[in-house]
Amino acid sequence: MKPAPFGYADPRTVEEALDVLSSEGEGAKVLAGGQSLLPLLSMRLAAPTTLVDINRVPGLDAIEAGPDGVRVGALVRHARLLASAEAAAVQPLLGRATANVAHPAIRNRGTTVGSIAHADPSGEMTSVLALTDGSVTVATPSGRETVGWADFFVGPLETSVHGPAVVVDAFFPALPERSGTAFAEIARRKGDYAVCGAGVVVTLDADRRVASATAAYISVGLVPEVLDLTDAVGGRPVDSADWAAAGELARGLVEPDGDLHASADYRRLLVATLTARTLATAAAEAAGRTA
């Protein structure tokens, strides 16, 4: 298994990268961490005519954690985001989800933004971008544009970005106050693609009642989607909310496909179980952050 022949360019600026992408047309593909792209090349499921390797572009490897959220540059490796205490303090879902991304050797090389741009519905960070109501910055020859997650993901491995473009960063808004998060996956082996995964955010009001409960799933559905489960638990005191009911609500809302690893029904069952479990954990954390 060897990649089909291609041309290779390693530009030193985003503008140079866009120049190559423009001149090479549709056959050109951006290479960042390559942990999803290179297997596709080796298996010849993809055969780009040109690879535009952005790894030598300076300035794309910053993690900027501020009061509004965390901006993650296109060359930030999963391992660095996982280790960033500053990022975790602003948006704890980042570290919690990243810990589930493959294995350490893959996390050392693969990038968070690359996995979002790859738009694989079994990728953790696509759902985290959705759950946090995040966005990406897309650089094109005509300038930079912010694209919200709902407009970005179009289908499995498909985004709304066409033509010459580089996703230069992703922005994950900060966790609101009186909120908690949790993330969990079921995989056949640790580090494998999840059979099903769930990330949740629970926000309480000042009286420690559930103000909102939202969830997003991994390997369920074709594009990331955020489910509002507040109807099942909203207004209830945090200690007596029926998280299993929220799980059942989610089970009825999702439309997973079955495959070799799990039937659609089994995935729905996992959605119910993981939802109840993660909501309880997130609620306990939210309660701890509510004076």
């Binding site: 298994m1 022949p5 041309g7 290779y8 390693d10 190559v20 290179l38 390797d53 294995h103 090389r109």
Partner: protein, 172 residues
């Protein structure tokens, strides 16, 4: 901006500067074996799943089948051949994890072993040796590599063994 199909690269492999002119589509795993003659790096699945081809790029465990050779131009690569250290008397001493693999019978056919050794050596070197290793740490360290012979029990045992040896060394 030039678009190339061949590139001349300079890589420090196991401490030795090496140059090679390679097709840009050549994987690092194949460059190590065919350009540099370092056949200790084993090629298993060739799509990042098995971990056999793991090497260290700038000290970090990396799947060499998921990196192009041109991408390590100017970087340092350590393969299983580079894990041992000089004993300053003209010989070599094995890394503690290599010693532990031998002692604990942590391999049978040996195909996956180079990937385990590079991954575990880097993982053990990166942790505070004075702290006793936990089962969770061991699971996390071995979790990215497949072995079809051993059932992992002796590999995990070797990992604990090496950590204990490094702890003894550090606290002596």
């Amino acid at each position: 901006m030039s678009i190339d199909t061949d590139r001349t690269i300079s890589v420090t492999v196991n401490g030795v500067p090496r140059d090679a002119t390679v097709p840009v589509r050549l994987l690092l795993s194949d460059a190590l074996r065919h350009e540099f003659g370092l056949t200790g790096t084993h090629v298993g699945c060739e799509h990042g799943v098995c971990g056999s081809c793991t090497v260290l790029v700038d000290g970090q465990p990396t799947r060499s089948c998921l990196v192009l050779a041109v991408q390590v131009d100017g970087h340092e690569v350590t393969t299983v051949e580079g894990l041992s250290r000089s004993d300053h008397q003209g010989g070599q001493v094995l890394h503690p994890i290599q010693e532990a693999f031998r002692e604990c019978h942590a391999l049978q056919c040996g195909f996956c072993t180079p990937g385990f050794l590079t991954t575990l050596a880097a993982g053990l070197d990166a942790r505070d040796p004075a702290v006793e290793i936990t089962e969770e740490e061991v699971d996390e360290l071995v979790g990215g590599n497949l072995c079809r012979c051993t059932g992992y029990a002796n590999i995990k045992k070797a990992c604990r063994h090496a950590a204990a040896a490094m702890r003894e060394e550090a606290t002596r």
